[in-house]
């Protein structure tokens, strides 16, 4: 085998021989539709909220003495986990980055939308090294 062919084979084989790189992704539920969230307005009813976003993942109840089962807020969530592992001869790196889409819809005493808090960061989960903030 000529020197050039040897070097080409080595270039292709070395990354396989020198270690191992693993990428993995896990999602929980479905991404939240930003357009649907943008349509939520103060004063909307609970039915209108569930009509746009679907059934909530969690309901926050008030614990008022006279109205303990009042639904105070609806929570919607989607999780996206990106995992990276690098086994590189002497060093082994593992990194898991977990980001979420999360929407919390607050209701007033009359059961109408009072506030909407949204953080749609699920798409920002990234593979990478375990460095950085």
């Amino acid at each position: 085998m000529s020197l050039v062919k040897h070097l080409l084979l080595l270039t292709l084989a070395l990354p396989l021989l020198s270690g191992c790189l693993i990428f993995g992704r896990r999602t929980t539920d479905q991404p939240i539709d930003a357009g649907a969230v943008a349509q939520l307005k103060a004063g909307m009813s609970k039915n209108e909220v569930t009509g746009k976003l679907g059934a909530p993942h969690e309901i926050i109840f008030s614990n008022k003495e006279h109205d303990p089962l009042r639904e105070h807020a609806y929570v919607y969530e989607y999780k996206n986990d990106a995992g990276t592992a690098l086994f590189f001869f002497v060093v082994n790196f593992g990194n898991l980055d977990s980001k979420r889409d999360r929407v919390v819809v607050f209701f007033d005493e009359a059961g109408k939308v009072a506030y909407v808090g949204q953080s749609l960061k699920g798409g920002e989960a990234s593979f990478g090294f375990p460095f950085g903030k």
Partner: protein, 361 residues
């Protein structure tokens, strides 16, 4: 009859070739050394500036939601809203020492040092019955406090020309040992470094090595061998830390400060590093002569795998750096040549000392 005064043989220092054995012991230790780094981050880093902009008695819940987004935890008690923003950061860093040789796939671990940190950074807000901010609080780990909010992130590339001198050759070369077959040699090479994180570098490059041939006597014949010439293409890595890291290793907050920084430009000043390389080696024919007459080859040219492990010291200023290092190199046995000699050799091993410069861009 008087007792003979038995003279004890002169005591030899336990390692009479102490520098070489020390290096070999270090290389063996390093070969079984593993650095493990695991990080789990859940949620988004807290927006401290947005938190500081909230005013007690003035900011309404709706405004807080606009600035900070959806809270990670909500509770409602006695007319008040309690909301939390959470960012979890789990980190485990450790060094394991294993026997470098596996027996039926098992490598015994004989020492491990590790530290684990599980931080939950949080913002907690309380809104009164009127929906106005009544109380706010922030909890951040020390590493997050000390790092700048807008730390520069990015990658860096390095050009690393290097030179080594190899005074020690080890291994059985058949007729004689390698140290009797060749003289101390020289090597020169060039690596390209890719630094995706401040203290870790991936290296790709190559080098050329030459070991002058020596002479020896075999079965009454004066044998002379030609120079050993090698080309290598290599891939490896470098893990580097500031020297004061070793005095701060027990302080987990200092370790986190080191790891949480994504600014590769922090790579300034003195650094201690470990380096490992896996490579392919192409050697040329090594001719042999008996009494000045050509007598075939001692080793035939071929291609084989090799590896190297070592440690060094680097000093960086700006885009320029200099380093010195020691490496232990192991090359799979060369192909036997056709000369009338015992050329059935073991692995070629050498200790290299050298250094070079680096230029970042």
């Amino acid at each position: 009859m008087p007792r003979k005064n038995l003279e004890m043989p002169p005591a030899r220092a336990p390692f009479h070739r102490s520098p070489l054995l020390l290096i070999l012991c270090s290389a063996v230790l390093l070969a079984g050394c593993h650095v493990d780094l695991t990080r789990l981050r859940s949620g988004n880093p807290l927006d401290v500036k947005a938190f500081e902009s909230l005013e007690e008695g003035k900011t309404a819940l709706g405004e807080a939601l606009e600035r900070l987004g959806a809270p990670d935890k909500v509770e409602w008690k006695n007319g008040k809203d309690y909301v939390w923003y959470l960012h979890e950061d789990f980190m485990r860093a450790g060094i394991r020492f294993q026997f470098p040789i596996a027996i039926f796939g098992y490598r015994h671990e004989f020492a491990e040092v590790e530290g684990t940190s599980d931080d939950t950074n949080s913002i907690a807000l309380v809104f009164n019955e009127n929906g106005l901010l009544q109380q706010k609080s922030l909890r951040l780990s020390e590493a997050y406090i000390r790092l700048a909010e807008d730390e520069e992130e990015g990658w860096a590339f390095y050009l690393i020309p290097q030179y080594w001198y190899s005074p020690y050759l080890l291994g059985d070369a058949g007729e004689v040992d390698f140290r009797d077959l060749f003289k101390p040699g020289h090597a020169g090479g060039l690596d390209l470094g890719f630094m995706p994180a401040p203290f870790f570098m991936i290296l790709v490059g190559g080098n050329y090595q030459q070991y002058p041939g020596d002479r020896f006597t075999s079965r009454g014949r004066r044998v002379e061998v030609e120079d050993l010439k090698l080309w290598q293409v290599e891939l490896g890595g470098r893990l580097q830390v500031p020297p004061d890291f070793f005095t701060k290793f027990w302080n987990l907050e200092e370790v986190k400060m080191l790891l949480y920084s994504a600014n590769v430009r922090r790579h300034q000043g003195p650094f201690v590093y470990i380096k490992w390389m896996i490579s392919g080696t192409q050697n040329y024919d090594v001719g042999a002569k008996f009494g000045g007459q050509r007598a075939g080859t001692y080793f035939d040219k071929d291609f084989r795998m090799s590896d190297a492990l070592g440690a060094g010291f680097e000093y960086r200023i700006g885009h320029f750096g200099v380093h010195v290092e020691a490496l232990y190199q192991n090359i799979d046995a060369f192909n036997e040549g056709g000369a009338d000699l015992d050329t059935d050799a073991g692995n070629f091993q050498s200790i290299l000392f050298g250094g070079g410069m680096s230029f970042s861009f």
